[in-house]
């Protein structure tokens, strides 16, 4: 009798916890932005799928005017509730301070200083890619804090270019500077920002999905609208992983230049 009562209490506690996690999941997904509207000459799609109820992936867009857009993608170490809390803090800090950053490298340096103490106390860190795109000049300026280099598919060319820039992950040391790089985009170019949950998806035999497979998948869908490119890539990742269960959070942002 007592044992049964104890089980019922446990069941109630489990379902209360499940409800709270479901609320956390819903709110975290609502904190991710919709695609920015009213920026001339770009089409964007984005998606984030946490491995569990909540996760440590983050992406955002800051539309300053109809020709200036910032894009950011980040991945907090771990993919649990702790990572999710830091993801929310990162978003709040960045949203409050992004307007002060002169360029993409500045944005990362500033964020590193602002988050360093909390990341040290919580023993977490994050990788981040930050870009500023001007549709008038088509200049894409970017900096990276140890994030997986986004892929650039040039219109009419085979394969993918890595957009790598030198910079350490955030939360390891103070006073870090970040290399700033620039590239001029052209009609028909496509950019793919992603988190490592995609490239580190494992197959049944333990093989990793990897950068080459991602590049081939994106290239194969290059003619499709951004939303369909994401669907295509995610379908390939799911087939590759076999059982369909994600091991890590997955996020993708696809931007096409028209």
């Amino acid at each position: 009798m007592e044992q049964k009562a104890a089980h019922m209490t446990e069941d109630r506690a489990d379902s209360a916890l499940a409800r709270e996690l479901e609320t956390a999941r819903r709110i975290q997904l609502l904190l991710l932005p919709e695609v920015p509207h009213g920026v001339l000459g770009v089409r964007i799609a984005c998606r984030s799928i946490p491995a569990h109820q909540v996760g440590g992936d983050y992406y955002d867009f800051f539309r300053w005017d109809e020709s200036t857009l910032d894009l950011v993608i980040a991945d907090v170490s771990g993919h649990d509730l702790g990572a999710a809390l830091i993801m929310v803090e990162t978003r709040s800090v960045l949203r409050a301070h992004a307007y002060r950053a002169g360029d993409a490298g500045d944005a990362l340096s500033m964020l590193n200083e602002l988050l360093y103490d909390d990341l040290t106390r919580t023993e977490l860190f994050l990788s981040m890619f930050y870009a500023k795109y001007c549709t008038d000049t088509r200049l894409f300026s970017y900096a990276s804090a140890g994030h997986n280099p986004p892929l650039l598919l040039r219109c009419g060319r085979e394969g993918c270019m890595d957009l790598d820039a030198d910079g350490m992950i955030l939360g390891v040391m103070k006073g870090v500077t970040f290399e700033e790089k620039n590239i001029r985009l052209q009609d028909g170019d496509m950019l793919v920002l992603y988190t490592d949950g995609i490239t580190e998806t494992k197959s049944g035999s333990g093989e990793l999905f990897g950068r080459e497979r991602l590049c081939r998948a994106v290239y194969a869908h290059r003619g499709a609208p951004p939303e369909a490119v994401i669907d295509g890539v995610l379908a390939e990742v799911r087939v590759f992983s076999g059982d369909g269960a994600l091991q890590d959070d997955i996020s993708l942002v696809v931007m096409k230049i028209d």
């Binding site: 170490s77 140890g146 350490m168 992950i169 390891v172």
Partner: protein, 118 residues
């Protein structure tokens, strides 16, 4: 996760025995490094030669060890990085923060000489 702990000429050597260092087991390594520094160890070497795969949680454990070494005025070095582990260090630029040696012998020799690489 099992971690072999040995001593060699004043160096505490921590050797994770698993092939993966990830969210499921990195806390054990984090705890072992912390305990070593708190117990007064000044020279700690993490031998990663068994580790074929590391994720961000595994790197997080090593970063935490690095910060512990700094706050305890100790020294943390790594050795035996396999291909995937090395590429993760290069991507995150953590190879600039840690002293990394090819093998255990080179790492131990560096402690004996007392050099500190950046």
């Amino acid at each position: 996760m099992e971690i072999a702990v040995t001593e060699n000429s004043g160096v505490t050597i921590l050797t994770p025995m698993n092939e993966r260092l990830d969210a499921h087991n990195s806390d054990t390594l984090k705890g072992a490094m912390k305990e070593s520094f708190e117990a007064g160890a000044k020279n700690v070497l993490v031998d990663l030669s068994n580790v074929r795969f590391i994720d961000s949680s595994g790197l997080g454990a090593l970063v935490s060890g690095f910060k512990n070494s700094v706050s305890h005025r100790g020294r943390l070095t790594l050795s035996g990085l396999q291909e995937q582990v090395r590429s993760m260090f290069e991507l995150t630029r953590l190879h600039r923060v840690f002293e990394i040696y090819e093998g255990l012998d080179e790492a131990l020799a560096s402690f004996a000489e007392g050099d500190v690489h950046g």
